[in-house]
Symmetry: C2
Subunit: 263 residues, 2 copies
Amino acid sequence: MSTPRPVTDSGDHPPSRRERFRQATIDEIKRTARAQMADEGPAGLSLRAVARAMNITPSALYRYFQGIDDLITALCVDAYNALADAVNSSVATVDERDPADHAARWWAFARGMREWAIANPADFALIYGTPLPGYEAPLEDTRPAGLRFTGTALRILSDAVDAGAIDLDTALIQHRPTISDDLSAALDAAGIFSDRRGIAILLGAWTILQGHLTLELFGHFEWLHIDAGTLFDEHVRAMMLTMGFDHAAAVPPRRTPSATPPT
Amino acid sequence: MSTPRPVTDSGDHPPSRRERFRQATIDEIKRTARAQMADEGPAGLSLRAVARAMNITPSALYRYFQGIDDLITALCVDAYNALADAVNSSVATVDERDPADHAARWWAFARGMREWAIANPADFALIYGTPLPGYEAPLEDTRPAGLRFTGTALRILSDAVDAGAIDLDTALIQHRPTISDDLSAALDAAGIFSDRRGIAILLGAWTILQGHLTLELFGHFEWLHIDAGTLFDEHVRAMMLTMGFDHAAAVPPRRTPSATPPT
DNA sequence: CTCATGAGTTGACGGTGTTCTCTATCGAAG
DNA sequence: CTTCGATAGAGAACACCGTCAACTCATGAG
């Protein structure tokens, strides 16, 4: 489906000299594009500017990407993976201390997401902000990477429910959403969330994270001169109470003092 | 500050023939620009395309707007005002039935916002989505319109607290955010929310609305094949419980059956 | 009637994504 | 070591974009 891209590799046994150079160029293009995106947002990305920064002709980029849409897709996949890596490593530091502290795992997940978003605002905007004008993400390339993040959240919540750290009956969210048969079958196969209320809880949590991060990163808290970090913690705390977490009252201390992220 | 724009009006007593024509042209430009924005999002707006649609030269537009940024600012202000009008009229229909039903007022506010956002996704993205690449909104023009919306929410919540429909002590959000002295003074002058917990409650509600609407409008619920309308109601319901509303258990019937908005 | 002011056009500049044609180099096969 | 196909890149062109300067022409006020 997406293979008409000009590629060198026929077999994949040893990365030949040419293929290594090719991969290095692809990496440099993506790196340059990300740097440019960081300056003026995802919509400010420009093939010609990337080429200029690399001392290369714009048309030369077409040896590596079919066009700017293809480059954007690659950046989207990288961003999804980077976000998933960030939250996974954040949760992992809890796991190696006490894998049974499910509330701490969720805190690590939420804070890990925020820290990644603040460190990489352009990537966050790319995947969770306004869709780019003429661009439609090819889901067959993008979805797997995107589901890694969702999967981590799903696993944390599912584990918490199984361990009794979340009591679905005391959760304020009691909705059982109707979901597609595909997803339903996938969940049953994975043996998680046979109680559909978990889906609603996950969606509610996602909504709050998305809401806070878009408001914060897109500058809507600035005129309030409010401490966004503390506010985020309060949102997570309230969210955990509505989710049915048992011990959510205590906000764990923050690793980094509440510094305003550089805008 | 923003008056070097070429304007005709010296006095404002009778709108002269010229000024009427001028205003009509301005309206047509904004209408054309909004139609174009609706097609391919805020970042897809193009002065030349607007001029083309109006059978006019691009440079002619500079008689009416200093540049594309100035046009964007005008569209932002219009969007803020349209949103405020939408939620105000939505709340007004409740008020003329029973102004003391504070839960119903909040429901009307929330649903009014969603209905407006679904009907005008480009305008929503313009003011609450990813900031446009080179554009920085001039706050002195934009803020007053933006505050109309905030003010409506503030008033509904304040009234609800005063009437006892919201019990701040039972709210899950107990945070008292530190806010700027300006805002603090303004609140005191208006005699609302001397209890700062109300601010946190307002911010929490705003976060959920923003989160749900960006997720829904930017297409992140599509692969779930979920009923976004029902999900929204559940989010509002849970939100009202965390806010300390007393009778939030019942979701009021929807006026429009949950039809998927045209994408 | 005069004439400044407004609306509008024309043409240019530098920027953008994209495509086509051409050249030089690399790497492997003979 | 030579040959030759594949690859990387250059260059020019096209249509689009925002913006500006100079110019024309009609309007409306004195």
